[in-house]
């Protein structure tokens, strides 16, 4: 159970949000500059909130009152970065194993772990890429490696920052199904940030709509016909390659169960 209330002052605007969330995939949906990445960074411990509290199950990660701020390395929160942040000087294998304590046994399945290194790589279909460097991978492959790397350390929560934005439409669909499947297998909460309507439809169990750092009421949040522009004057909603224009449509309801059939767990 994630229980977080985060307040973060940024130059220009501030993020102020309460998140209570138990299982499945929570989608943070909003335009660029609405504070989505800031929220993820605060959860992961890479940025320090100005005020608030972050609890995951019984662990306190951050508490302004008690002056607690657990460093990122002790939080066990997986983070798949927008540009994947794969280590360019390490092979896929070394990237994936980076979070595991070094030693001869590090590929062995540990007690309490869901999957061994081999099983994870096989599930994500990246076994054959082990010896490559990140620069030799396609977008979809990088995505899978990044996912494997953060799953390897058995996180209690997985954060994904626009995980599919740099991937072309066909592979994106494939990965959406896989992500959903992984979430069901791993049974840890995922928080996924996106500004793509279709991605939200395909993945979300719950949605939080963000605008200028605040959660906005979904019921009256419809997109005006013809679209509008975001804070930097770019077209909003954004039209992604391989996606039809979203203008004129209505954002779907808060709990999204109908959009995609659940993928059965193996």
């Amino acid at each position: 159970m994630l229980n977080a209330s985060i307040r973060k002052e940024l130059p220009g605007f501030s993020v102020d949000i309460d998140l209570r969330f138990d299982r499945g995939i929570l989608v943070l949906f909003g335009p660029s500059g609405s504070g989505k990445s800031t929220i993820l960074n605060c959860l992961a411990g890479l940025q320090k909130p100005t005020a608030g509290r972050i609890l995951l199950d019984s662990r306190v990660f951050f508490c302004k009152q008690q002056n607690i701020n657990v460093p990122a390395r002790q939080r066990r929160i997986g983070y798949v970065f927008q540009d994947y942040a794969l280590f360019p000087h390490l092979t896929v294998k070394d990237n994936v194993l980076f979070g595991l304590a070094p030693g001869p046994d590090r590929c062995k399945k540990r007690r309490g772990h869901r999957m061994s290194v081999r099983e994870t790589l096989e599930m994500l279909k990246i076994m054959h890429l082990q010896a490559r460097y990140p620069a030799q991978l396609s977008g979809g492959e990088k995505q899978r490696v990044a996912l494997a790397r953060s799953l390897m350390m058995e996180p209690d929560l997985l954060l994904l920052d626009e995980p599919l934005s740099a991937i072309d439409a066909q592979i994106r669909r494939e990965l959406q199904i896989e992500l959903k499947k992984i979430q069901r297998t791993w049974e840890i909460p995922f928080i996924l940030v996106t500004h793509s309507h279709k991605e939200m439809d395909a993945l979300a169990d719950e949605v939080v709509f963000l605008k200028d750092g605040q959660a906005v009421d979904t019921a009256d949040w419809t997109l005006p016909a013809g679209g509008t522009t975001d804070r930097w004057g770019r077209a909003w909603p954004p039209v992604l390659p391989g996606e039809d224009s979203l203008t004129g449509s209505t954002i779907h309801g808060f709990r999204n169960t109908a959009a995609m059939p659940d993928v059965p767990v193996k």
Binding site: L46, A72, R73, A85, S138
Partner: protein
């Protein structure tokens, strides 16, 4: 002829070793920190690169001389004299080549993508592991470039060395000094040979650096491998 060559190599290597540690640490310390006066501090760090060597020599004499700030302390307490020994030559070489090492290290650290360090932190790495496994290897090519440039500069140091270490054959006479005094005394053969040696050493160092940098960074920075090896799903 071998005296100045061995001495030059010794002086340059020790000077660069000192620079490597100090300049790298300083660059790392200042890389991602903003504070008032940082600009001024960096100006002072770069200063030895632009000042005439005689100014540096004079400055070093004030610090290291027998009545200097540090020199006097060392002489009175440890009976240690720095000026006109080869230690003074090391000091001079280290000071003039410091900015080259610092600038390279600074650029190298700035070029490391911060999100990679962040990623390593979320994967449970301590700060020292982040530095050793991520920052240092990624900044490595730039650091080596700085080392080689600093070495070449230290090898060629003349003005400040002459002022603080003097020209004592077999003791403080490095290659550049030996060349100057060989020409002065009309020994053109010796001068020519030493010129060839120091040019050869500098060219070798720079040539090797270029070659190595290209090889080292090819695979992981540009993914430059034959197309046939790439497999896309």
């Amino acid at each position: 002829m071998s005296g100045p060559i061995v001495l030059s190599l010794k002086v340059a290597l020790i000077a660069v070793a000192i620079d490597a540690v100090l300049a790298t640490l300083l660059a790392r310390l200042l890389a991602r920190r903003e504070f008032p006066g940082k600009n001024l501090l960096e100006s002072f760090i770069i200063l030895p690169m632009v000042l005439p060597p005689t100014v540096l020599g004079f400055g070093l004499l004030i610090v290291l001389g027998k009545r200097g700030l540090l020199g006097r302390f060392l002489l009175e307490n440890f009976d240690l004299q720095i000026v006109f020994t080869w230690w003074a030559a090391i000091f001079a070489a280290a000071v003039v080549s410091f900015p080259l090492m610092y600038q390279s290290a600074k650029a190298a650290f700035a070029s490391v993508d911060m999100s990679l360090e962040q990623a390593a932190r979320t994967l449970g790495s301590s700060e020292s592991r982040v530095f050793l496994r991520i920052t240092l290897p990624l900044a490595y090519p730039g650091l080596i470039a700085g080392l080689v440039l600093a070495f070449a500069r230290a090898l060629g140091e003349f003005g400040a060395t002459l002022m603080v270490a003097g020209n004592i054959p077999g003791k403080t006479q490095t290659i550049p000094l030996a060349i100057y005094f060989a020409v002065e005394t009309g020994d053109n053969t010796l001068a020519r040979n030493l010129v060839l040696v120091i040019t050869g050493m500098s060219v070798t160092a720079l040539f090797w650096l270029n070659l190595w940098l290209r090889k080292k960074t090819r695979v992981w920075q540009k993914g430059d491998t034959p197309r046939a090896e790439r497999l896309h799903p």
